[in-house]
Amino acid sequence: MNASAGNSLIEARGVIRILPGIVPVTLVHDIDLTIGNNEFVAITGPSGSGKSSLLYLLGLLDMPTAGEVLIRGRATTDMEEDERAMTRLATLGFVFQFHFLLPEFTALENVMLPMRALGALPPVAMRERAAMLLESFGLTDHIGKRPDQMSGGQRQRVAVARSLANDPPVVLADEPTGSLDSQSSEQVFRILRDLVEVRSKSVVAVTHDLDLAARMDRRMQLIDGGIVDGAQMAGASRAAPV
């Protein structure tokens, strides 16, 4: 789309995803898009439009039935499982609608998890970085708490901290504020925007909240698995009916 191809982080080329079954379901249909550096992208659409499915495809959690997803210009469909896992670990951060923290581990340990899996830092440095990330999201007092001892907003902030653990260039967020009250939503949204503005990351967020989407830099609207053209204009209230 409007990002230059040279510094594309994620690129989708004719991506199609069909769920096999007695009645095959087309989740995503023929998508072409490019996510460049330092972008804040919203993917919107009614429920069932395939926006989450598209995010999973971009995040290598799912494999396209046809087409190709490129991460930093590298094709991913022919990668080995391990290599895809490694790419995910090092270049992509995930935030889900539900925090998806490991329940038996503290906030600090949860944030350290991806770092330990990657193993690029010495243990002391991992601990310092995890603590630093949590502190930067105002969670200094909750470092040693387990998920069930925190509020929804706090958990989601821990999840964002975890997505940044290995300092990935892109964070993919699937309805990051979907299960939060408006105050916590605002807090999490501000954090996501800071990622773009302060830390120069790219953030791709799926949301059905059009007000939220309106405050992002770039919008894509999905209907029935395909991108609706011209949905990039500002003024989300005029966007497609829900």
């Binding site: 999973y56 959690l61 499982e81 995930f94 038996e104 998890l113 330990r116 899996a117």
Partner: protein, 411 residues
Amino acid sequence: MSLTVDIALTHVRSRARQTLVAVAGVATGVGFSIMMASLMVGSQNDFMRQLIDALPHIAVSDEQREPQRQPAELAFGAVRIYGLTPERRREGIKNPMAIMAALSAWVPGAIAPSTKTQAILRYAGRDFAASVTGIDPHRERYVSALPTQMRQGTLASLFTAGNAIILGDRLAEKMGARIGSNITVQTGEGAHIGAQVVGLFHSGVRQVDESTAYVLVKTAQILAQQTGLINELRVRVRDPLAARDIAQRIERETGYKSIAWQEAHEDLLSSFVVRNVVMYTVVGAILLVASFGTYNIISTITHEKARDIAILKSLGLNERTVRRIFVLEALIIGLAGALAGFLLGYLLCVALGTIEINNPFMDANRLPLVYDPLHYAIAGLVALVSSFAAGYAPARKAARVHPVDIIRGAT
């Protein structure tokens, strides 16, 4: 601590009760296996010791394994002989002293000459067949356990009467004879002497105890009606298990039939094989049952943790790492179970060892138990291997989960 170990330990620890049940299952399996093995091997060793002690380790007799070859057979390639009446050979081992001197040069152990003869013992008007062996009480203690098996009297008592005889305790019981009884000994050669019972022995092997009697060598020679007769050399070797090889070499060198205790008790030894098969089958079954407990808990954990697995995989942990986590959990349970089982097994053995049994058919009044580190090692190893196998299947299944399937359906 590595990430996999950390996660595995956390999973196992946060399910303390289930883990405890699985560990207890493995521990029970390992513990009872150790106890079974200890008891089986203990009783087998005990029995083996009795067998080894009941007879000389090797008995060299004046017999040959095959009938003597006739001169014509030696001279011609094909001979058929009808109506042969073999020449009567003089009984006994020829030049016994020279043979003993030759053997003692290399046989690791002691050798003693003896005279063996079959006789009828008559007491209170009843006849009993017995194998009467003439021994030298001074040398006998080097070649058999007879001195330690004496229940009444000693070997030296053989010198106390003119014709003294020591009977197996069951033989004496059958006859109704006791110490001091005068019995009549009669042989096929026509000898007929009166003898006084001066001792009773008990070897623990029924067949020996009810049909064996000991006299002095010279008394036996009178019974056999042949002066200077030595028809059996009794050998005791330092390593009873090597007796078979030594017996074969003696036979090769002297030409006389020499029978090791293993050959004499071949039927009993082959029953040990069956016993061992039974033992290992039972022990294996116990451990197998225990491993189902492990399978169960790992299976349950992977089900409960489906979401965590999806999270880990969405973060970018690969299949191998996820699989390793759950296999590790199974191994932790297996290891904890094995260690607890070692303790349980040891305590069970100690407890069994304190039980006293007053049974007229048994010599020992405590259960014979063996404490062999090998049993512990084998039981522990089997527990670990079966835990690994039990954990591997659910672990593999867990590792193959597609994170999207779980995340899509999450609430």
